[in-house]
Symmetry: C2
Subunit: 209 residues, 2 copies
C-alpha cells in the first residue's frame, strides 16, 4: 500500500457523478463548481487526481466506455448480421431512452460536446464514436469473409449506416422522444438492412444491462 493519507472518496463513484453533469450540461456548460459539488469533493482533490478539467473529462469518457463495454460485446457476439444490427439499434434505443438513473436521455458521446470552444473535445468524442463504428465494421468484414454476409455488401457503409441511425436516435431521445418512438425508428431502419443468409428473424427484445 502507498504511504500518505488515503483518498477520501471513491474514484469511480466520483466519475459517475461527474459524468451526469457533463452529460446534462455539456463539456463547457459543466462548471468546476458544479462538478465538485456533484462529486462531493473539493477542487484540490479533483486536480490532484485528474490534473484538470479536460483530464477529468477524459477519465469520465473512459469510465463511460467501460460501462458500455458489455453492451458492445453482446452486439458483436450476435449469431448473424441482421441480429447484430437489431441488437445494436434496439439496444441504443433502450439506452438512449433510459431515464432510470440520473443521466439525461441520449448519449454522452454526443451531448457532452458536438461543438465547443476547445476543438480538442469534439475531436476526442468523434474519435470515440469512430472506435465503435470501427468495431462494427470489423465484425461485418469478418462475417462477409465467412459468407454470413453477401459479397456485394459493403461493411464500411453498413457500419456507418448503423452509427448514423444510432446517433440520430440519440438526438431524438435528447429531444424528448419516447422509448416506443425510438424503437419504431430502429425497426424502420432495420428494413433497409440487406437480407443476408438467414431469412428467419426472431422478435425478441432485450434491454441492455
Amino acid at each position: 500500500m502507498r504511504a500518505g493519507r488515503p483518498r477520501g472518496f471513491c474514484v469511480d463513484d466520483a466519475l459517475d457523478r461527474a459524468m451526469t453533469v457533463f452529460w446534462r450540461n455539456g463539456y463547457e456548460g459543466a462548471s468546476m463548481s458544479e462538478l465538485t459539488a456533484a462529486m462531493g469533493i473539493n477542487s484540490p482533490s479533483l486536480y490532484a487526481c485528474f490534473g484538470n478539467k479536460e483530464g477529468l473529462f477524459r477519465a469520465v469518457l473512459e469510465r463511460y466506455e467501460e460501462r458500455r463495454k458489455t453492451f458492445m460485446e453482446n452486439v458483436l457476439a450476435a449469431p448473424d448480421m441482421h441480429e447484430l444490427a437489431r441488437r445494436y439499434l434496439h439496444g441504443v434505443a433502450d439506452f438512449a431512452a433510459d431515464t432510470s438513473g440520473k443521466n439525461p436521455p441520449g448519449c454522452l458521446l454526443l451531448q457532452s460536446g458536438l461543438s465547443c470552444g476547445e476543438e480538442t473535445i469534439p475531436d476526442e468524442l468523434a474519435r470515440h464514436r469512430g472506435e465503435k463504428e470501427k468495431a462494427l465494421r470489423a465484425r461485418l468484414e469478418d462475417a462477409r469473409g465467412k459468407g454470413e454476409l453477401s459479397k456485394d455488401a459493403d461493411p464500411a457503409a453498413l457500419a456507418r449506416y448503423l452509427m448514423t441511425v444510432s446517433n440520430g436516435i440519440c438526438v431524438q431521445a435528447a429531444s424528448g422522444a419516447s422509448s416506443t418512438e425510438l424503437h419504431d425508428v430502429a425497426d424502420m431502419a432495420l428494413k433497409a438492412w440487406p437480407a443476408g443468409a438467414p431469412r428467419k428473424t426472431k422478435s425478441r427484445a432485450k434491454a441492455s444491462a
Copy 2:
C-alpha cells in the same frame, strides 16, 4: 428608421458571421469577444441591436431558418412521398457536407447546443427541429389522405424516421464523413421507405420494450 444616426453595419451580414461562430463553437463556446470580432462591430452595437447573447442567438436561428426555407419548400413540393424522402435526405447530405462557405460541416441546429448550461438553448433548438418534423408529417398526412401513401403507413413515424436519419447524417458530417459517404447513407436509409402506391405494406411487430 426615422431620426438618429444610421446603423453602421448590415444586420443580415452580421448575423451570417455570428452564425459561423455559433456553428463552430457552440452557444457557450462562442464568446462575445469572438462574436463581435467576427461581426466587425463593438459590443454596445451588438447589445443595442439584439439585447443580449441569447437574443443574438435567436436572431441567428431565425436567419438560419430563413436561409433554409427554399430547401424545405422544395422538399415539401415533391410530387410523391418517395421523392420527398429522397429530396430531404440527399438535400441534407449535400448541405451537411458543404464546406464551400465558412460554416463547418454539419447542422447549426445540432452543433450550436445539444446540451448546454442554460437549459433554454437546447430546448429552443429541439423546438426548431420539431418544427421541421411537423412540416414533414403534415405533408405526409396530407398525402395519405389523398391516397399517395398507403393507409397503414404512419406519417408521424415516417417523419420521425426522416428526422432521425437527417440528424445522424449531420453528426456524421461533423465527424468528418465525406459527401459520398453521406449520400450512401441516405440511399441506404431510403431502402426502408415504404413502396410507392401499392396496397401491400409489411408492418413489423413492435419491440416488446
